[in-house]
């Protein structure tokens, strides 16, 4: 504290004010007849779906994949025949889905037309946006897109295909940027401002972060209204451009989920009686990954922070307090997501795991024999006097070692037929518990040593993810949080705290 210069902070505000006061806006319309046709067909599709009763099934089978494809080809500069545009898979999916419709269903015809246009685009290959984008980018330009899902891959693609040396950021994360000379936006102001099931966010138009704000977009989306916070204030801004094509399609943009929302919508399923579901929050991560992080009360994770001395350090953070843009440290891949397990094994727990397996398998076997978890709970509670609240975790939870009370443990052993070895097992499991406690501090030490070797420069140039290797922990990733789910969902415990590559879930 106290090391920051006041002049620097004053300049921060002065610069923000002068940038917003002097900002200019320019609009470059891109033409691509097939994409325009897809937009027109989308309107027809929406109408047909409405007329067919607005069924959720139709939206899921037809509207969602079509809108997803439309967004990709309308707002991103990837080649139409690239993996990112994903046209072939989309067409395949749509063709499969229309089999569920009668032959004379009008939706079927529209989808066929859309598929035709998509395939034509695939054959064209060259994206209409890429040339104006390359031209518009000057040294160190900032490229802004709506969906943070694409920032890493787009930055990589631009660097590979051109002399681009700038950065790509999501419009949601512009807040953290310092004022600059030029920003190139991909998408119309309307599209960039719209948020899924939320009010439009026009902060980037009201108080732009650049003196020159250049928008490259296919001509869809009327100019949004940009108001200050206070009614009638002079800071309100008029965005002026004339849309050469129809405007009505604007409205469907608002209800279109981003890629992260689509991925998270696919998670959180798979309930069965014995499956443990726990509250978790979706994290879209840098480097093309995502995960569900535990949102249980008191659940913590490790994040990388910048200490006042300028060095990186590790902080424990309650998962409910995470914010977008933070760097979270998580394990990559592997069967056991638990660092504690791995490190405790390295400290000597491995040879004791057999006892843990005997006890857990014995319990699971008995539950299966009883027919259901509830039946086992009933008997254990009524006849053995065991507090069965955590029985599901003892049997099926990978992180649960054993009951905390020896009394309960011995009673459960009696129930599952392990009464003779109960004392021995309790001794072994208690040792595992102690090693888990030791592992907690050991992990932190090892992580600190590994983090000391990383510089803030490495982090900035990492594209949102840095992999580190730590003894007994395997590969760990330091991931930037690109997207944070708004609400907690009940997710199978086996899917929680496991980092997954985005491609794996598509």
């Amino acid at each position: 504290m106290g090391v920051t210069e006041m002049s620097q902070l004053l300049d921060e505000t002065s610069s923000a004010l002068s940038t917003r006061n002097l900002a200019t806006f320019s609009y470059e319309f891109v033409t691509q007849p097939e994409v325009e046709r897809i937009w027109q067909l989308c309107q027809i599709l929406q109408r047909e779906i409405r007329e067919a009763g607005g069924l959720g099934e139709h939206r899921e089978l037809f509207s969602s994949p079509v809108l997803r494809a439309r967004t990709r080809v309308s707002t991103l500069p990837f080649r139409y025949d690239s993996d990112e545009a994903d046209i072939l898979r989309t067409v395949e999916l749509l063709e499969q889905n229309i089999r569920s419709l009668d032959g004379d269903n009008p939706i079927r015809n529209v989808i066929r037309e859309i598929c035709k246009s998509l395939l034509l685009l695939h054959n064209i290959g060259e994206n209409a946006i890429s040339v104006p984008l390359t031209k518009a980018c000057i040294d160190g330009s900032l490229v802004v897109i709506r969906d943070s899902f694409w920032t890493g891959s787009l930055q990589q693609a631009l660097r590979q295909e051109s002399t681009f040396e700038g950065r790509v950021v999501s419009v949601r994360h512009l807040q953290d940027e310092t004022p600059t000379d030029k920003i190139v936006y991909l998408g119309s102001p309307f599209y960039l401002a719209s948020r899924f099931r939320d009010e439009a966010d026009t902060r980037f138009l009201l108080d732009p972060k650049a003196l020159r704000n250049h928008f490259i977009f296919l001509p869809f989306g009327r100019p949004p209204e940009v108001k200050g916070l206070i009614d009638g204030s002079k800071v309100s801004r008029t965005i002026n451009y004339v849309v050469p094509v129809f405007e009505a399609a604007d409205f469907s943009i608002e209800e279109e989920p981003g890629e992260w929302e689509s991925i998270s919508a696919r998670g959180g399923s798979g309930k069965s009686e014995n499956e443990i579901n726990e509250p978790a929050r979706f994290l879209g991560l840098g480097g093309g990954h995502h995960m569900w992080i535990s949102a249980r009360s008191g659940a913590h994770c490790r994040v990388l922070c910048l200490a006042p001395n300028g060095q990186l350090e590790i902080e424990s953070r309650q998962t409910t307090d995470l914010v977008e843009g933070e760097m979270v440290i998580e394990r990559i891949g592997g069967s056991s997501p638990s660092l504690i397990d791995s490190v405790a094994d390295g400290l000597g727990a491995r040879r004791l795991r057999a006892s843990q397996s005997i006890w857990k398998e014995g319990l699971r076997h008995k539950i299966a024999e009883m027919g259901s978890l509830r039946a086992a709970e009933k008997i254990l509670s009524a006849e053995y006097g065991v507090d069965v609240m955590n029985l599901r975790h003892w049997a099926f939870g990978a992180r649960s070692i054993a009951p905390n009370s020896k009394d309960d443990f011995v009673k459960v052993c009696n129930f599952i037929g392990l009464s003779e070895s109960a004392d021995h097992l309790w001794g072994e499991l208690s040792k595992i518990r102690k090693l888990h406690l030791r592992a907690g501090s050991e992990i932190l030490n090892r992580l600190r040593r590994a983090v000391l070797e990383i510089s803030t420069k490495d982090l900035k140039s990492s594209g949102g993810m840095i992999a580190i290797e730590i003894e007994d922990c395997g590969a760990l990733g330091i991931f930037r949080i690109e997207h944070l789910g708004v609400i907690n969902e009940a997710v199978p415990i086996s899917s929680i705290d496991v980092v997954v590559q985005n491609k794996e879930s598509l």
């Binding site: 504290m1 106290g2 090391v3 920051t4 210069e5 006041m6 002049s7 620097q8 902070l9 004053l10 921060e12 505000t13 002065s14 610069s15 923000a16 004010l17 940038t19 917003r20 006061n21 807040q175 966010d201 902060r203 009201l206 108080d207 200050g228 916070l229 206070i230 204030s233 002079k234 800071v235």
Partner: protein, 303 residues
């Protein structure tokens, strides 16, 4: 005011001037003032400084009670002759000198040196209890930067540093702390930070006298203590949302960063609250020009 020799930027001068106006006005009504900006760095501290400079001219700041008004046990403070440190003690009594009935002896228990007696005629007392801020036990240096404070308010060092009142409450997150502690606020060749001048309790108190004039409240703190003050400055939507109900002040100023995603929603709530209190909207003072890119709205309602 800046170490680089430049004047404060226009927007900061206007905010400082506005703060001065608030300090000079009688507090007959409840007032709320909201500013929204694309960045609010330094704004709250500068407004508070403008307010305090103006308040220094008020009678309350030059008030010195006579030693005859003290009762035994009262806390007293006085400046050392070199003006570099504060002494603290408790009043014992006044007696006549044995050999001279016209001479009065002032006795006190110095926190550092124990019982001491002095000729009352030479005893210059400045301030008395109660203190605003955390009570202290051991006397500490007066300020890390007395000459800086002297230069920002010439001739008022003693009034400023020995006064202890709840003038201002600054509510804000880590950025507000950073603003108040940022170095290189230059004044007359000396360098300091806003904290040196505003004398903020709860900010960076090590080595400071506890004679505070301001209080820093962290909106993330779970403390729900009510605060009573003359001016409260909420720096950011989080500060306003979390602490509004706990601070009672005649004048409330709010700075909202328009890039803060919650600013709009919090402002709407705040406006609703003011409307329910039948606040009458006011415009920015016509003699001042609102900086371009800054939004302002004020409300006044009778107490």
């Amino acid at each position: 005011m800046r170490a680089d020799g430049l004047e404060l930027p226009d927007w900061a001068q206007i905010i400082q001037h506005f703060g001065g106006q608030l300090g000079a006005k009688p507090k007959d009504d409840d007032e709320w003032h909201v500013f929204t900006m694309p960045s609010t760095r330094m704004a709250s501290g500068i407004l508070a400084a403008g307010y305090l400079v103006e308040r220094l001219d008020s009678k309350e700041f030059s008030l010195r009670r006579s030693v005859d008004t003290l009762t035994e046990g009262d806390q007293i403070t006085w400046l050392t002759q070199d003006l570099k440190s504060l002494k603290h003690g408790r009043f014992s009594g006044i007696t006549e000198a044995n050999n001279d009935s016209s001479k009065r002896i002032f006795s006190y228990l110095c926190s550092q040196q124990g019982p001491i007696s002095r000729d009352a005629a030479f005893f210059d007392l400045f301030r008395f209890s109660p203190f605003f801020g955390t009570p202290f036990v051991n006397p500490r240096p007066l300020s890390r930067n007395a000459s800086f404070v002297e230069s920002i308010a010439p001739g008022r060092l003693i009034d400023l540093t020995t006064q202890s009142k709840s003038e201002i409450c600054l509510v804000g997150d880590i950025r507000t702390r950073e603003d108040l502690l940022a170095n290189e606020l230059s004044c007359g060749g000396t360098i300091g930070c806003l904290d040196d001048f505003l004398r903020v309790d709860g900010l960076d108190d090590a080595g400071e006298s506890p004679h505070y004039l301001s209080l820093y409240a962290n909106p993330s703190s779970r403390s729900l203590t009510d605060i009573e003050t003359d001016l409260v400055v909420y720096d950011g939507s989080h500060a306003l949302r979390r602490k509004r109900s706990y601070v009672k002040a005649a004048v409330s100023v709010v700075f909202l960063d328009r890039w803060d995603i919650h600013a709009r929603e919090v402002f709407t709530d705040f406006k609703g609250m003011i409307t329910r209190r039948r606040g009458v909207a006011t415009k920015f003072p016509s003699e001042m020009k609102l900086p371009m890119g800054v939004e302002y709205i004020g409300w006044v309602s009778p107490k």
